[in-house]
Symmetry: C2
Subunit: 452 residues, 2 copies
C-alpha cells in the first residue's frame, strides 16, 4: 500500500493511525520501512504524537530507531521510555552504537543506564568503552557469527540461521579454535557452493586478513577499501577474536576523516556542522584565527623593518599581498596533494624522493610562468623594468619555496607520526609569509637605487 | 602454510615456484590469497617472471587481477595475454570495471577489445559506457540475483546458489515482474529465517529504495550511507531493473569525492596524485594560480589608488597582509563547513536561514575578539590609538564580511546547481581581498588627519 508514497505522505498516514489508536495498521506501515526512514519520520513528528509512536514500536524497532537518530533525540527517547523498557532496548542496540551514545553522557547517567541492562551486555559495552576513541576496538561489534573448524557446512548453515536475527553481517563466518583464536574465515558464498557434508576446515581461508583492537580507524578503513570486504575481524595481541567491524561503519569513518582533513586544511575547528551553536563554533575556530593574527603581526614587523625601502618605493607595497597570497596558495596546493596521497599510498624512501623532486619541478614550472607574467605586467603598469624584474624574480623564488615547504613539511610531520593536516595548514602559511617577505624585500633592497 | 607469511615472503615463494615451473604449488599459494594481494604481488614481480605468472593464472583470477590493478598495468597484461585469452578474461571482468578501463582507451583499441568478447557481454559494456561519467548507470553491474515474486523461498535459494559464483553481492535478491520492473527485495537474512515453502511475494519488502540510472554518484553514496545498505538497485524511468551498485564501489566514490572537494577548496588541479608527471601537475595547477595572480593585480591597483594615504602613513602597510589574510582565512573556514554540510544535509529554507544567521553570529564573535586584540597590539606597538582603532575596526568588519561571503556564496552556487567547492575557493579569496582593502583604506581615509 505504501510502496509508492513519499516519506511525508507516510508520516501523515502514521499520524492518522496514532490519532485513531490503530496499532495493527501502524505496524503494517512500519514493517515496510527501513530504520533510517523510521528515524526520519520520528524526527518530523509533532511532539504530542511521539509518546504513542514510541509505545507502538516493539523493543527491536526502538533499538533500531536509537541507532539511527542523533544524540539529543536519543536521550529524549530514553527519558520517555522509562527505566525498565530502556534496559531492554539498550540490550538490543548494537554495542558500538551504544558505546558511542554512552561516551557522551556523564558517568552517573552511564552508570544508571548500564545498571538497567543485562549483566553480560553491559560488560561487553563497558569493555568496548575502554578502548581509545577512533580505534578498531572502539568500533567493533560482537554481533557476528563464529564457528569451529570441525563443523560441517550443514552445521555452519544451521548456526548462521540461528544467528540471522542477531548478527550484523551474515556475509562471513569466522572460524575459531578452542582458545577463541581466529584461524579461518568462510564466506556465505563458499557455504552456498560447498556440499552439506564438507568440513569447514577444508573450505575455509586460513590466511585471514584481520586488524588489531588498537588499530586506528583510518587504517581499518584503508584495509577494507583495498580488499573490498564487507566486514573485517578484530583480534587482540594473542589473535583472539574480539569482534568485527562492518563496512557501513567504515563509510562513516571515511566521511568523518575526510571532513576532518578539510577542516584541518582550512584551519577550521573540529566538529563544526550545521547544528553546532554559534558560540561553540566561534570558540572552536578562534584558536587558529588568533594564531594567524599573531603570525600577521610577525609579517607586519618584517614589513616595518623595511619601512625605509617602502617609503622610498611605495609601489613595492602594491605587489606585497599578491606575492604572499600566491606563495600561500601554491603551498596549500602541494599540501593537499600530499595529505590525500599519504592516505592511499604506502610511503617509502623512493616515493618520498620522487614526490619531492616532482614538486620541485612543478615549482620551477609554475614559478617561471607566473614570474614572467608578473614581470611584464609590473613593467607595463608601473613603467619600471627594474620593479618588474624585482617582482618577477621574487615570485619565481617564493613559488618554488612555497611548493617545497608544502611538500616537505607534511612529510616530516608524517615521519614523526604527527597528523600532517592538522599542523601544516597554518604552519605552511606562516612560513611562506615570512619567506616571501624576506625574499621580496631582500631582492628589492639589492636593487633599491635602481628602483627610486 | 602461508597464512602467517608477509606479502613479501609470499612473493619470494611464488618466484621460486615460477622459476621451478611448479604450477600445482603456485596454485595452492594463490588459492589462499585475496585478489588485492595477487595484484600487489604481480606489481612487485620482476618483469622476467610476469609472463609465466600470467600463464599460471586461470581466466577467473586474471579477471580479478585486472580489476585490482592500475590502467597502465592493465594494458600491459592484455598485451601479454594475446587476443583469444583477452576476450575470455574481459568476458569475466565486472562490467563496471571493464567500462572504466575501456573509457581510457582509443576508440580503435576499444573496438578491437570488444570484438574479442562474447556478443552479449560486449553489448552490456557498451550500454554502460553510454551513460555519463559519475552517474549510477555508469557504475552499476549486471551481476546480481533477480527472482520472480511467485518463487518459493526454496526456489529463491536455489537460484542464489546457481548465481553464487557470478553475482557481485548475495546479500539481496531483487524481485521483478514480467516487464522486468523492480517490485520488491528480499535479503539473504529474510531467506534464512523463512520456511522453504514461503512465497517470495509474502516475505519481500515492496518499498524498495532504488536510484535512477542518471543519478549522480555522490547522491548514490549518500543514500547507501544513510540506509547502511550493502547494495542498491538501479532502475530506468519505467522502473525497469538495470543493475545494482555495491558498497565497495561506494567507498571509492566517497574517497574520490572527498579528494575532489579538497583539491577544489585548495584551488588545486583535479586528479593530481603521487604518480602524476610534473609538467601535467603544473599544467593542472597553473590556471588557478594565474587567475589568483590577476586577482593580486586587482588588489594591487586598489592599494595603488590609496598610494597617497599609504605614503603619508606607511604603518598602514604593516597590517595590510594580516587583514587580507585573516579575512581570507575566516572565509575559507565558513566555506569548508558549508561544502561538507551540503553533502550530509537535506537543504531547505529553514536550514539555510539558520546557518546564515549562525555564521553571522560567529562572524560577530570572531570579529569582536580579534578586533579588540589587534587594537591593543597596534596601539602598543605603534603608539597610536587612532591607528589601533582603524586596524581593529577594519578587522571587525572584514571578518564579519569574510564569514558571510564564505557562507552565502557557496549556498547561492548550490542553489544554481554549480558545485560550491569548485568556484568558491578562489572566488571567496578574491572578493574578500577586495572587500577588506576597501574597508581598511576607507576607514583609514576617514581618520587620515589623526593618523599623521
Amino acid at each position: 500500500m505504501i510502496q509508492n508514497m513519499s516519506v511525508n505522505q507516510i508520516t501523515l498516514h502514521i499520524i492518522k493511525t496514532l490519532k485513531e489508536n490503530k496499532k495493527a495498521e501502524f505496524e503494517t506501515i512500519i514493517d515496510e520501512l527501513q530504520p533510517y526512514d523510521i528515524a526520519q519520520i520520528y524526527e518530523t513528528l509533532p511532539d504530542k504524537h511521539r509518546t504513542r509512536f514510541l509505545l507502538f514500536l516493539n523493543t527491536d524497532l526502538l533499538a533500531n530507531l536509537l541507532e539511527e537518530i542523533n544524540k539529543e533525540e536519543q536521550l529524549d527517547i530514553l527519558n520517555k521510555l522509562g527505566v525498565e523498557k530502556t534496559g531492554k532496548v539498550l540490550d538490543l542496540m548494537d554495542n558500538d552504537d551504544l558505546a558511542s551514545l554512552l561516551n557522551e553522557l556523564s558517568p552517573e547517567t552511564t552508570e544508571q543506564l548500564l545498571s538497567g541492562m543485562k549483566k553480560e551486555e553491559s560488560i561487553i559495552v563497558q569493555n568496548l568503552m575502554n578502548y581509545p576513541d577512533e580505534t578498531a576496538g572502539r568500533m567493533m561489534t560482537n554481533r557476528f557469527v563464529w564457528i569451529r573448524d570441525y563443523y560441517t557446512t550443514r552445521e555452519a548453515v544451521d548456526k548462521l540461521k540461528s544467528f540471522a536475527d542477531f548478527a550484523e553481517t551474515l556475509s562471513y563466518l569466522y572460524v575459531i579454535n578452542q582458545k577463541r583464536q581466529l584461524v579461518g574465515v568462510v564466506s556465505y558464498r563458499d557455504l552456498l557452493i560447498a556440499e552439506p557434508q564438507d568440513k569447514i576446515m577444508d573450505i575455509m581461508y586460513e590466511r585471514v586478513i584481520s586488524v588489531s583492537v588498537t588499530e586506528d580507524q583510518e587504517q581499518v578503513a584503508h584495509i577494507i577499501q583495498k580488499y573490498d570486504f564487507l566486514a573485517i575481524p578484530v583480534v587482540d595481541e594473542e589473535n583472539m577474536l574480539m569482534g568485527i567491524i562492518t563496512v557501513d561503519d567504515i563509510i562513516d569513518v571515511v566521511i568523518q576523516e575526510a571532513d576532518e582533513d578539510i577542516q584541518k586544511l582550512s584551519a577550521g575547528g573540529k566538529d563544526i556542522d550545521f547544528d553546532t551553536k554559534a558560540h561553540i563554533a566561534a570558540y572552536r575556530r578562534l584558536p587558529w584565527l588568533i594564531l594567524l593574527l599573531f603570525i600577521g603581526i610577525v609579517s607586519g614587523s618584517i614589513i616595518s623593518s623595511y619601512e625605509d625601502i617602502l617609503s622610498k618605493a611605495v609601489a613595492l607595497s602594491f605587489f606585497m599581498p599578491m606575492i604572499s597570497g600566491m606563495t600561500g596558495n601554491t603551498g596549500t596546493q602541494s599540501l593537499a596533494v600530499i595529505v590525500r596521497g599519504l592516505i592511499s599510498n604506502t610511503i617509502n624512501k623512493r616515493i618520498v624522493t620522487k614526490v619531492i623532486f616532482r614538486e620541485l619541478l612543478v615549482g620551477l614550472i609554475i614559478g617561471a610562468t607566473c614570474g614572467i607574467i608578473i614581470t611584464l605586467i609590473a613593467y607595463v603598469w608601473q613603467g619600471s623594468p627594474v620593479l618588474g624584474f624585482v617582482v618577477g624574480c621574487s615570485l619565481f623564488f617564493t613559488l618554488i619555496i612555497g611548493t617545497l615547504s608544502g611538500t616537505i613539511i607534511p612529510l616530516i610531520l608524517y615521519r614523526f607520526k604527527i597528523d600532517p593536516a592538522v599542523a601544516s595548514g597554518p604552519l605552511i602559511t606562516t612560513l611562506n609569509d615570512i619567506f616571501s617577505l624576506f625574499i621580496y624585500f631582500g631582492i628589492a633592497s639589492a636593487f633599491l637605487k635602481h628602483l627610486m
